[in-house]
Symmetry: C2
């Protein structure tokens, strides 16, 4: 690994589009306004969770899939806030599962307020996002967001139940990331394009694009867990191996190892043996696991692009496609840091 | 305390009304149908939580506040299922907070599936209830249920943060039970009467009735924690003192004790001293804490009745009032068991 620190990755997906600056600013204002809706006693806690320093990739998907003449419509801002609040709520609960102390460079809610309060705070954020969703004239947003939220939670449950088990397949892994990550990407594109009055064909295409981008994004996130630098990313790394979570880099590594080495790795997953992270990271360099995983990631980005190719006249489609380049550039930054 | 076991309390609020039998049967069918909406991998877990053995007091409030000619309307059944699912979700998360092992005579979800899966399972139940709420033609149900859910969670958060602290007042206690319990009673009556086309005056009255009944019901529940019999109720008792939760029976007891005894009790709340439950139960008999608490409970039942008194021509109002008698009879059963 290079001793020279890599350039900071472009963490904020929305900010990479100069045209999204007014949208992001309206979103931040809308999110801050939501804090007042909470009971006075828990406003400070809600405000701590509703921080606006995230990557804002789901709001970016809403804005870009509903793109029209750079207009910042209140409906898109509100839906962007709804999906971001659902995402923030899932982070609060995820950090309890992962026993994570640090997220985005500061204490997680579970560390700051304790896991019990964090369970309920996540619930309150979920509930408030649905209340905001119910402010639309129809039940479209509420219905879609509630169903997506259930699917996201189901993905997390399945993942939790499978921790430390080694009988799962790559298909099981894809099923989980489809539910836990791709679903919210999908619904962001679905709602953005629907509210902007897109044709049903375009809405379908945007939703499918979002889903494939979400799968690719989760694969990227699983790469970061092994190849990222903790301090730069601002969260605890190497947690997947420690917590017995079989992700794509580990599937790829297991395929490369000798039978004996493979058995030893699986014992680290089940917890029969302590995780030997330095060894596993060295092995990941020896067999170019990064490149192998990136091939899979790239295939999902291509699939995402293919859904939009019939819609080249749609400004939204062109804008959405640039997200593929943003993710590719993040992957490239990670690769440079590991070469 | 009597050695003769008391008669089993009438646990099922809905079943005490012969007229509600078809409603309850439709509700149970609707709840069972919801299990199929969950992802196949978690249906069994969702089904475990969606048990139909509860008291069904919130569904009873929906049916009675929307009462018209004994008709079982699909809208009321669906709303009853929505509020019951929200309630079941809060129970799943409450049992994590309380580290409770037994609820309704069987393992809690947190004991059976582990606290991590239970967090997510509660989330999935919440999300599904909102998805069901979004199936109404307008956002009325979704909006009301989402806001209520946020308030219920806020009440639980405030309660959790205050555990083991002794600077809280009775007002703080009422604030918490208003949010954590009375809110869902209130919204059940609000939605039942709204969907049945009640006048806005009657809807307000029904909602206020529900709120006061909810406060009384939580006071009853706090009595049960000290005066109930664990095996009969099917859940762990005496948890409030153990977990440092100041409830009305403890406020009343503290008022009766000498300064020195009071300080000793407060040390049990803060955990500086182990809780001496046998002593506290004896003291509760000496000072008739049951009767003192029941006076407060009764004042809320009277206030509830007063909200309905201008509506004596409404069949719904007459039906709702009978719930006051059901709660009074439960209190009486508890008193007999302790005399």
């Amino acid at each position: 690994m290079s001793l020279v620190p890599p350039p900071s990755p472009p963490l904020d997906f929305a900010s990479v589009f100069a045209g999204l600056a007014p949208h992001v600013s309206a979103l931040d204002e809308c999110l801050r306004d939501q804090i007042q809706a909470f009971e006075p006693e828990i406003r400070e806690m809600a405000g701590y969770c509703i921080d606006t320093s995230g990557k804002r990739i789901r709001p970016a998907l809403v804005f870009l899939s509903g793109w029209k003449d750079e207009e910042v419509t209140p409906d898109l801002v509100k839906v962007a806030a709804v999906v971001e609040l659902v995402h923030l709520a899932t982070l609060v609960h995820d950090d309890i599962m992962d026993e994570a102390d640090i997220r985005r460079g500061r204490d997680t809610a579970t560390r700051r307020f304790g896991p019990e309060a964090a369970v309920l705070l996540g619930d309150a954020l979920f509930a408030h996002s649905l209340h905001l969703a119910a402010q639309f004239p129809t039940t479209l947003v509420c219905s879609a967001v509630a169903e997506s939220t259930r699917r996201v939670c189901s993905g997390e449950i399945i993942q939790t139940l499978r921790r430390g088990t080694t009988t799962i397949t790559r298909d099981d892994y894809y099923r989980v990331i489809d539910l836990k990550t791709a679903e919210l990407f999908r619904v962001s594109c679905y709602l953005g394009s629907s509210l902007a009055g897109g044709s049903s064909d375009f809405v379908d295409a945007a939703a499918n694009f979002g889903r494939q981008l979400g799968i690719a994004y989760q694969i990227y996130d699983d790469l970061v867990d092994f190849f990222g630098e903790e301090a730069k990313i601002g969260k605890t790394l190497g947690t997947d191996l420690d917590s017995g979570k079989l992700t794509l880099p580990l599937f790829e590594l297991a395929d490369c190892l000798s039978e004996e080495e493979r058995k030893s790795l699986l014992k680290e997953i089940t917890g029969e043996r302590p995780a030997n992270k330095p060894l596993r990271l060295r092995q990941m360099q020896t067999w170019p696991i990064f490149d192998r995983v990136n091939l899979v990631l790239e295939s999902h980005l291509k699939e995402a692009a293919a859904f939009l190719s019939p819609f080249s006249v749609e400004p939204a489609a062109e804008r959405l496609k640039t997200l593929l380049e943003v993710l590719r550039s993040q992957v490239a930054v990670l690769k440079i840091a590991n070469s």
